[in-house]
């Protein structure tokens, strides 16, 4: 058994060495960045995603392979907006890989150049926002995803100039797909413009903004703080007054609380996910938004 293991790991090492010459090692902190990296990098890159799509992106348990892949990474894609604040810095410190330091071409901070929403004006953060740079859940807006994809294409081209044309072409294709899909998604959600939706956590301002919805009421009284009874009573009253019929939750949220509120208000609980793979049949970014749009349209009908 140990010999078998040793052989297997040797094979793995040789395999990694052989492919390292041909392919770029791209590491993404979260599955949405990983999906874009696959779109742009195609078969020229090996993409490793650290967080699982069903895992809370604020809290991710580090495993040895995270450090291994970060050490051999040519490109690291992270959000850059403090979403991974709790777990990425110690990993980076441990990996000590100069290629993926901030400012190097091998480091993509996805939020760079993106105008984040809900930036707290209060520097002390007493207002209750975890993220001083603004809301970090920006990938649910497909137009922002296009910008991030372009950013990734530029980084891949800088690190691997030989394939720059390939990355650029893939980006153009992704851009065209999103542009076409935006028409479709917009049309599907157009009848519900201005409608209110309740979410468990404040992860959807960009999605709401893009598709003309209001997602401003949350089961959490403050981001990251578990729902308190008085807050839930308030939410239920608001939902009744505004006739809100939909609550969206993500896989790592406490669905029971959402169900309780739903049964008190006659609303429906809809499973949502920020990450490709977090819902069945959503193995890439476009399919994820497809699913979110159709689920929401069905629930709001």
């Amino acid at each position: 058994m140990p010999i078998f293991r040793l052989l297997a790991s040797l094979l793995f090492v040789f395999g990694a060495l052989a492919s390292a010459q041909a392919k770029l090692n791209v590491v993404a902190t979260l599955p949405d960045f990983g999906s874009l990296a696959r779109e742009i990098g195609g078969d020229k890159v090996d993409v490793t995603v650290m967080a699982k799509p069903t895992e809370d992106p604020h809290f991710v348990d580090a495993r040895p392979s995270f450090v291994v892949s970060m050490r051999s990474a040519d490109v690291l894609i992270d959000g850059g907006a403090e979403l991974e604040l709790g777990w990425l810095p110690p990993l980076l410190q441990n990996a000590r890989n100069p290629k993926i330091e901030i400012g190097k071409p091998g480091r993509v901070q996805a939020s760079q150049g993106i105008r984040l929403m809900n930036v707290p004006t209060n520097v002390t953060r007493a207002a209750g926002d975890v993220h001083a740079l603004g809301n970090p859940h920006f990938m649910s807006d497909p137009i922002i995803a296009k910008a991030v994809a372009q950013h990734i294409a530029q980084a891949l081209s800088a690190v691997d100039p030989a394939n720059a044309a390939f990355y650029e072409a893939n980006y153009k294709r992704f851009e065209a797909t999103i542009n076409a899909k935006l028409q479709e998604w917009g049309a599907a959600l157009l009848p519900f413009k201005g409608q209110n939706v309740v979410a468990y956590h404040d992860s959807w301002p960009y999605f709401a903004h893009r598709f003309g919805l209001n997602i401003d009421i949350f089961l959490e009284p403050k981001p990251g703080i578990p729902p308190s009874p008085s807050h839930l009573v308030e939410v239920i009253a608001q939902m009744k007054a505004q006739k809100i019929k939909t609550i969206i939750v993500e896989p790592f949220h406490d669905r029971k609380i959402a169900e309780k509120v739903a049964s008190a208000t006659g609303a429906k609980v809809v499973d949502f996910s920020q990450f490709p793979g977090g819902l069945p049949g959503t193995d890439n970014y476009v399919k994820l938004i497809d699913t979110l749009v159709s689920r929401l349209a069905a629930a709001l009908k």
């Binding site: 809290f59 348990d61 495993r63 050490r71 604040l85 810095p89 953060r125 990251g224």
Partner: protein
């Protein structure tokens, strides 16, 4: 593998000896969950620092956390009466849940998310830095020296309380000194290795030692060997199968404990 696992292995070799020794005291005193209660006290202190918007890495924050740990030590030494209807473990359990619940309440007012606090309080053995290991080692050496210098009285107070009272020791003060040093050790180890690991390093090797030996020296030796084997083996397993490292070490200890228990069932009289 070495570049990733080197410092975790160093940490698992250099640090657990003191925990195993303290574990013998803790098991003997029957206060198994004291480490978790003390770690929770420290984190309550840090939540308070968050409420006042203090810098989490500052000395003030450290001082507050230490202060709360000392309060915990004071509570446990005052409630550890010579003869009481209420077991010490009940007080420890209550302290734990109250401290944990109070932290939730404070955070709901402080309104900063708990990622940073979690990161600060609960470390991951996989990601230890050399500086953290050396700082922790220095602290452990000083507490170890304190325990060595005063070993006669510390051992008496833990292992033979009646004799300690008979000898006229001020048992409560000795208890307080023990808990204060213990709180310092536990809190700093939790910060680099997490709660699960500190608990298993305290209890599992000590229980194995007690299973196999009668004399404290032998128990300690067995505990050290088991801590060393369990920690390093756990790290290897964590690497081979890509598992979270702390949990892998804890389960390795569980497996070792089961094997040793079966062995000592078969040979109940072969104690060292």
């Amino acid at each position: 593998m070495w570049e990733v696992m080197f410092w975790p292995i160093v940490a698992c070799v250099l640090l657990p000896w003191l925990l195993v020794y303290l574990g013998l005291h803790v098991v003997r005193r029957g206060i198994i969950f004291i480490d978790i209660a003390m770690a929770q006290m420290a984190s309550l202190g840090i939540c308070l620092a968050v409420l006042f918007h203090l810098d989490l890495q500052s000395w003030t924050t450290f001082g507050i956390a230490l202060g709360f740990t000392l309060v915990g030590g004071a509570i446990f030494s005052v409630t550890g009466k010579r003869a009481s209807q209420i077991p010490q473990e009940a007080v420890i359990g209550i302290s734990y849940v109250v401290a944990a619940a109070a932290a939730v309440l404070l955070l709901s007012r402080a309104a900063e998310g708990d990622e940073q606090i979690k990161q600060m309080l609960v470390g991951n053995i996989l990601l230890v830095t050399p500086l953290e290991v050396w700082k922790c080692f220095a602290l452990f050496v000083s507490v170890g020296l304190l325990h060595f210098a005063l070993r006669r009285n510390f051992l008496l107070v833990s292992f033979d309380r009646d004799a300690a009272y008979a000898k006229g020791l001020r048992v409560r003060w000795w208890d307080f000194l023990f808990y204060a040093a213990f709180g310092l050790v536990v809190t700093s180890f939790v910060r680099i290795a997490g709660v699960l690991l500190v608990f298993s390093y305290l209890i599992a090797p000590a229980v194995c030692g007690i299973n196999l030996a009668d004399r404290i020296g032998n128990r300690l030796l067995i505990g050290w060997i088991i801590a060393l084997i369990g920690g390093v083996a756990g790290l290897f397993l964590s690497f081979w199968w890509d598992l979270p490292s702390g949990a892998a070490i804890v389960c390795t200890f569980g497996a070792i404990l089961i094997i040793i228990s079966i062995y000592s069932l078969w040979r109940p009289r072969a104690k060292l």
